[in-house]
Symmetry: D2
Subunit: 360 residues, 4 copies
C-alpha cells in the first residue's frame, strides 16, 4: 500500500506540488555501478519541459534536476537516488480568482472532498507538474536497461491522433518524431496537426490525443502470472498519467472485432530464429514478454483548463461559472509522450529485475 | 512484489493449475463480522461456470467452492479466508498431442521460455480456470461493500460488442443482462449475438468481445494520488484478466477526438445535491471517485484455441502446425463478464479500506 | 500491507485455524526447476509434530502435507505452491468450558477486542498450529538454498536454555541435536533439561526457553540498507513466532556491556581467504551478510496454558478464574526449534533472491 | 520489496549519505488536516543532534529541517511530505587515510562486496546520519498520534545500561530523562554513567548501551495476525537502527527463565475497568496491543570507530591496521534514544491506520 510510489524492485516515490518550492523523487532499487549524471536525466526532462513550442504551455520552467544522493564518482551506488527540481514560475496569485471553484474535469472536487483540504494553487499535487519526476526516474531506467540489454534496446513514443486527425501507422518513422513539435512519427500529418491545434487554441478550446509507445530489444520472459503481468503493470503505469482514459496493448480494443485466425500471431522458426508473423499481442503473451516489440498506446483527454466558460460549483456548493485563463497546453497529450516513454521504461526495468530475482 | 496476489488491504492470492487437483485462493484483510457462506460465493461462481449454455465451453465443472478458514459461525473473523475448488474434469490425455507445440495466442511459448518448465495440460497456470478464484474473491468483496454501503451499491457488467455486432448503449437495461446467455444488456441485439456466435463456431473460429462494467453507489473519495489511482488500479485489475487487450475508463479512447468543452463534465448543485451533467470521466477525477457511477470497459481477444489450423513451432524450435480440438468457448469474452465484475468489486473494496486508513 | 503473508520475493501466505478443517499456505515466488516432493516437506513437519515425546503435547496430529499446485513432474514450475494439512484432532468440545474466558498470556483478549469475534476453539487463528505452515514453507526454502548454494549450506537450531538450565555454548555439537527430544546441542545438559521439565509438568506449570540458530555457507551480500536489513528481517521473522519475546543477533544483548575492542570483529586475510577473528556481529554488518555464520537467538515465554489456576475475566468483563486442562506442551520453546529454522531459511532465501534482483 | 522505505500505510522513504549535499525523507500516507510545522520536527531533531554534550560526537551539524511539500497553510494535505536536511560538516578529506580500509564492526566490508562500489566518506549511506530522517518522520507520527489519541498518549525512552552500569528500573522517572545528557531515567545513576563514559573516552575506547521505550495510551487492537504482528514490526523497526543487536518486548529474554505462573499476566476487572496485574507481555498479546503500556528495549553495540588500533584488511584484501580518529560518540547508544522513540511512534501510527483500514 503506497500512495505515491511506483514499482516493485526499481521503485520511485514522487513528491511535490505545482506551486511549492520544489518537486522531486527518490529512486530506490537501482542497480549499482551504472554511469549516471544529471545530464543524462536533463536530456529527457527537456523533452517534457513546458514552453518548447507555441503548441505547449508558455509557463516558464527550466526544470533543472539535481542529484542529491545515490551517485558517487559518476556511478550509482545501489542506494536511493534523490532528485530535486526547484519550481521557478510560482505565480500563485494567478489562482486567486478560482481558488474556491472546482474546475470541471480536474481533480479539484475529488481532492477537496477526500482530504477536506487541498493546495488549490494550480492543482497542487494533482498537477501534471508531478510528471517531471516520472520523466527523471524513467531516464535512469533507460540508462540501466541500455547497460543491461545493449544497443538493440530502445523506447520511442509518438502521437498518432490529435482530435479528429490520425496518422497512417504504416508511415510510422522513428526518425521523424523529434523533428516536429508534436512527436509525430508520420511526416505527412505534421501540418494537419499544426493546423488543427492552432484552430483549437484560437477557439479557446482544447483537444485530446492518442500516443503509441514502442519498445525494442526486450528479452523474452519479463512479466509474471497472474497479478504482476507485464501488460497489467503497463496499464496501471499509463493510466496513472494525468488525463489518460484508455490503455491498449498491441491490437488493443480492435481485438473485439477480430476472429481467432486474424488475431493470434502465428509463430515461425527460420535458421534458429523465432519470428511471429504478426504482433497483435503487442509483444506480450499471458502477461509475459515474447521477444517481439512491446507495443502499447494510450488516450489522453483534452486539457480541462479552457478559456471557454463552463458551469461548475464552488467549495460552498453554490452554482457558479468558470473560465480558466492562463498558460495551458491546448493538447496535453503532446507532452505526454516522454512521460509515457518514461513509465514504460520503468515498468520494463522493474520486470527485468523481478525476473532476475525469481528466474536468475 | 507479489506474483499471484491482488490488492493492498483486501488482498487475495490465487493458486492452482487447470489440470491439477484443485484451484483456490486465500483472501486476506477482509473485515470481520461480515455474514458469509459458501452459498454467497457459489451464486457468483455459477455465472462464470462453463457449460451454462451452448455458447460457452462444454467442459464439465461444478465449480463447488469450500470455505476452509476465516469464517466462524457464519461470520468472517478478520483472519484469512481460504477457498478451494476441486477440479473434476481433468482429462489431461486430451493434451498429449499438443504438449510439445506452442499454441499461437496462448502463453505456452512465454511460460516455457521464462521458467524452462511448464504444466502443459490445458495451459496449466495460465489457463483462465484461475479466474474462478477471482470470482470467488469478488463475491466476498461484494458482500462487504453491500454491508458497508447499503442497498444503493451495485455492480453489473454487460457485453456491448461481439465481433462486429454492437449494442446501442442507450438501450442498456440492467434487468436484461441475466435473461440471455450473453450478458447482453440490449434486448434488441441478443439474436444478432446468437446468430454471429453460431456462425463463428460453425466456421471453427472464434471472436472477440467488449464488456462494460458499471458500479453504482460508490462514495466520493476512493482512490489516491499518484500511484494508487482508482483508475490505474482498475486498469491493472482488468488487464490482468486472460485475453484482455484494452481498458477504458468513462469515455475511454473516444476522448482523443473530443474537445475540452465536450469532455469535461460540468457540475451543478440543486437542493444541496451535486450532479454532474455528463459522465465522460467514468466517475473518476484525478484518480479519485467523484460519486458518479464508475464506468469502465475492456476488450477481450478472440479465443486463441481454434479448430482451424495455424502455423507454429514446437518446444524444439521446429516449424509445425496446430489445430486445437476440444471444448473451447467460441467467445471467451462472454464468461469474462462475472470476472470483470469481481475484479472491479475487489478494487473498490480495497480502495474503500485504504481510504478508511488514511482519511478515517 | 499484508496481514498473513511473509516475505518479499519468496512469499508465503498462511491460513487456517487450530480447529477448522485444515490449515495451509501458498508459497509464491519460488524459483522454477527445483526438485520438490511432499516427502521433502514432511521430513521437516515431523520435527515439529506434536506427540513426538513425553515432553511435548500429546495432541495427535499426523500433520500430513499435500501439494495442490506449483509442482509438475517433480519440479517447481515458478507458479504458486499450495500446501494443505488437514486437521484431525479437532475436539472442539474440549474448549466449551473456557470459551467465554480470556486465558492469561494468550491472544484471546486482544483478538476479541480487535475483531469483535473470534474462533475460541483452541486459540483459533492465534494457535501455534499455524506454525506448521511455516515449517512447510521453510522446507521449500531450504531445498532452494541447497540447490543454489550447494552442500556447504546448512541451518541448524538448538535449545540453549530451559528455565534456569543453560547449556555451555562451547559444547555445542550439531550432531547431538537430533539425538534428544529437546534439540539440545550439549550432551551434558540433556538430563538436566529432562529433570527440570518433568518437575515442571508435575507442578502443573510450564517454563520458558532460549533457542539459537546457526546458518552456514551464506554468501556475502544478502541484506539491504536501510529497511530491508537482513537482521531486521530476521528479527521480525522470529518475533512473529508465537510466544517469542526477544531476538538477538550475534552477541545480542551482551553487546551493551562490551567495549569497542571486545565487540568489533577484526578481519584477517590469509592465502586469499578472508577470516574474521570473532563473530560478535552474528555474520551481519550494516544489515548485510558478511560471509560468516549467521548466528541468532530468540527467547520463548512459558506456555500460557497451565493447570494451575489463574485469575482472569470473561467476555462480559466479569472477574473469574481459569485452569487450562488439556494436552499442552510444558515448554513450547522446544517445538519452536524447527519453526525458527524454517523462518531463518525463508528470510535467507528471500534476501538471496532480492540480492539477485538488484545486484545480479 | 523496498530497500529504503519503512511502514505500510504511514510510510517513509529515506535517502542521503553522510557526506553528500543533504539527507532527507519522503513521508507518505500521513492523514490530512494535521497541524504541522518545521518547528514540531526540529524539536525532536535537536534531541538527536550531535554536539549537544561532551559525551557525544563534536561533529557540528545544525540539522535544520525544511518541509518541501505536503503541508499547506500549516496543515498536512494527505499528499507526500518531503523533508530535507542539508549537510554542513562535510570534511570528506578526513576520510582519505582510511578510504581503502574496512573499519571493523562497520558496514564498509559488506557494502563494498555487495555493490562493488561505495561512498567511503564517513560510512556513506550506512552512516547513522540517516537516522536524522527517522527522527523527523517520527516527529510527524507523534503529532498525528497525539491528535488521534489525545493527551494520554506519550512515548518516552531512556538509557537503562551503559557498559557495566545499570539503572534500577524501579527508580524510572520520566521527568528525569531530559535533565541529563544520557537520557537516564534514574537520577541515582547519572554520575556513574558520566564517570564510566569519561573513562571510556580517555581509554580511546567505546561502550554499548541498553535503551528502554515506553508508550502510553495506546488503544487495544493495534497489530495483526500473523505477519504484521505489532511486536514483530517493532522488532524490525528497532533492529534496523544502526548498531542494534537485540530487541526485547516486555520481560524480553528474561521469559526463558520464568514459569507460566510468573509470566502470564493475570487480568482483573474493577468498576468496569480492565487491569492486568503485571506487564510481562509488554502490552502485546498475540501480536496485538492489549491496552497496557507498550514496553520494549534494545541493545546498542559499542561505537565501532575507536582510537585504539585494530586489525583489518584493505580493499585489495591485504592485511593492515586501522585507528579511527575523528569525532565519534564514545557510546552511540545515547543518541539512539530519540531514534528508538521515533521508530516506535512510526510503528504505532502505522498500525493505528492499518487497524482503521480493516476494523473501521
Amino acid at each position: 500500500m503506497s500512495f505515491n510510489t511506483f514499482g516493485k524492485v526499481f521503485r520511485f516515490t514522487t513528491w511535490g506540488e505545482s506551486h511549492g518550492p520544489a518537486i522531486g523523487c527518490v529512486v530506490d532499487g537501482c542497480p549499482p555501478n551504472i554511469a549516471l549524471s544529471e545530464k543524462d536525466i536533463q536530456a529527457d526532462l527537456n523533452l517534457r519541459k513546458p514552453g518548447q513550442s507555441k503548441f505547449t504551455t508558455q509557463r516558464k520552467e527550466k526544470d533543472l534536476v539535481k542529484i542529491l544522493s545515490g551517485v558517487f564518482e559518476g556511478k550509482t551506488t545501489g542506494t536511493p537516488i534523490s532528485l530535486i527540481i526547484y519550481n521557478e514560475d510560482m505565480k500563485s496569485k494567478d489562482y486567486g480568482n478560482i481558488k474556491n471553484k472546482f474546475r470541471p474535469g480536474h481533480a479539484d472536487f475529488t481532492y477537496f472532498k477526500k482530504y477536506g483540504i487541498r493546495d488549490y494553487r494550480g492543482g497542487g499535487r494533482s498537477s501534471a507538474r508531478e510528471t517531471a519526476s516520472r520523466v527523471a526516474a524513467g531516464a535512469i531506467a533507460k540508462k540501466v536497461l541500455k547497460q543491461f540489454i545493449g544497443s538493440k534496446f530502445s523506447i520511442i513514443g509518438g502521437v498518432t491522433q490529435i482530435g479528429p486527425v490520425f496518422i497512417n501507422r504504416d508511415n510510422w518513422n522513428d526518425s521523424q518524431i523529434r523533428k516536429n513539435p508534436f512527436f509525430c512519427p508520420d511526416k505527412e500529418i505534421v501540418s494537419m496537426f499544426e493546423e488543427y491545434l492552432l484552430d483549437t487554441r484560437k477557439r479557446g478550446s482544447s483537444c485530446g490525443a492518442m500516443i503509441e509507445l514502442r519498445a525494442k530489444g526486450i528479452p523474452i520472459g519479463l512479466g509474471a502470472p497472474i497479478y504482476s503481468k507485464l501488460d497489467a503493470d503497463i496499464a496501471a503505469a499509463l493510466m496513472s498519467i494525468n488525463a489518460v482514459k484508455s490503455v491498449n496493448i498491441g491490437a488493443g480494443s480492435d481485438v473485439a472485432a477480430l476472429t481467432g485466425e486474424m488475431n493470434s500471431d502465428e509463430i515461425r522458426s527460420k535458421n534458429g530464429k523465432i519470428k511471429f508473423k504478426t504482433n497483435n499481442a503487442g509483444g506480450i503473451l499471458g502477461g509475459i514478454s515474447s521477444g517481439q516489440d512491446i507495443i502499447c498506446s494510450f488516450a489522453v483527454k483534452p486539457t480541462s483548463s479552457i478559456l471557454n466558460t463552463r458551469e461548475t460549483i464552488n467549495t460552498s456548493g453554490k452554482n457558479t461559472k468558470i473560465s480558466v485563463h492562463g498558460r495551458h497546453d491546448p493538447c496535453v497529450g503532446i507532452r505526454a509522450v516522454p512521460i509515457g516513454e518514461a513509465m514504460l521504461a520503468c515498468v520494463l526495468l522493474d520486470h527485468y529485475l523481478m525476473n532476475r530475482a525469481q528466474c536468475g
